[in-house]
Amino acid sequence: MSFAVGLVAVIVFALLAPALQLMARARAWALGPVILLAIAAVVSHGLGVMLGIFAVPQFQYWNAASIFGFCVMAYVFAFGAVYKSVSLDILRGLVDRPGRRAPVLEIAERQVPDLFRGRIGNLVDGGLVEPVDSHFRATAAGRNMAGRIGRLRRAFGIGDTGLYDFSD
């Protein structure tokens, strides 16, 4: 029964999370998509626990939490993949074209530079980078974040190219 309570909380999350994203866009809330996902997760988990306490005599918290955590994380994983994946953006752009075909050169010379400019816009909006005339420079917050990322990459033995290593 505790697993079922966890699943009920997952359903609440799956309804609440997109509703919050749509409301945030419609009402121009200043909250990012990840914060909204976190709010949806906390609220639905809380509701699930309350349901378990009142509806299940021998409510096993960790049984409910395990299925809830797994499904929510799978949701976040899928959300992250479709939200910012460059590869999936390229694939989606390709499928949406008439005839579903495009020259490789056009993808490399038009679509990818557009994605590049979009991400720079995100960095500027996030206050991590600022435009100076026709140039861009990192703000103090950007330098701090880059420093933290660099330390984490070194600790985990991750390179700084951001490219997929196909010899892997």
Binding site: Q21, A102, V129
Partner: protein, 168 residues
């Protein structure tokens, strides 16, 4: 309500906490290979440790306890993968670190060259395309890209996920 995890769930919680530490340890061992291979190795290791714990822990195992443990472990792996992949392959994150590494304001073209460490955005585009091609999602013929049936299905799935998660 019972807040205490079962023995297998407790082992899974412990292994979930140890998982990033295991990644840190594997980063010190050159033979563990690149980032992707090292992450997969850490996943296999914790699953093996979990199986050993399920056998070695005293007392009878209950299905709900083991199932809950497996779900908790999978949740931790997905959570770590989201963060790890951002560090290793994150486009926006690497744009920021590339700008900070150069240490002076850059134009868009200079930034692209700094990001690609001497290459250009075409190299980045080909790296991402290689992922789509090796996954069997797109094919190239006569310098043109076309999605495979699998690629079209994935693109439709991506659209469905975007719609159901409240993204445009």
């Amino acid at each position: 309500m019972n807040m205490l995890p079962g023995p297998a769930q407790a082992a899974a919680i412990g292994l979930s906490i140890a998982f990033p530490l295991l990644l840190l340890c594997y980063a010190r061992i050159a033979a563990t290979g690149g980032s992707g291979r090292r992450f997969r190795l850490a996943c296999v290791s914790v699953v093996v440790f979990f199986a050993i714990a399920c056998i070695a822990l005293p007392g009878q195992r209950h299905v709900d306890d083991v199932l809950g443990g497996l779900l908790l472990l999978a949740t931790a792996m997905m959570f770590c993968y989201i963060l790890f992949s951002l560090l290793a392959w994150g486009f926006t994150v690497t744009l920021l670190t590339a700008l900070v590494k150069i240490g002076r304001p850059l134009t868009l073209d200079q930034w692209a060259a700094a990001y690609m460490q001497g290459g250009d955005l075409g190299t980045f585009a080909h790296n991402r395309l290689k992922l789509l091609i090796s996954s069997g999602l797109v094919v190239t013929a006569d310098g043109r890209l076309a999605p495979t049936a699998k690629g079209v299905a994935v693109a439709q799935l991506v659209k469905l996920v975007r719609l159901s998660t409240g993204l445009r």
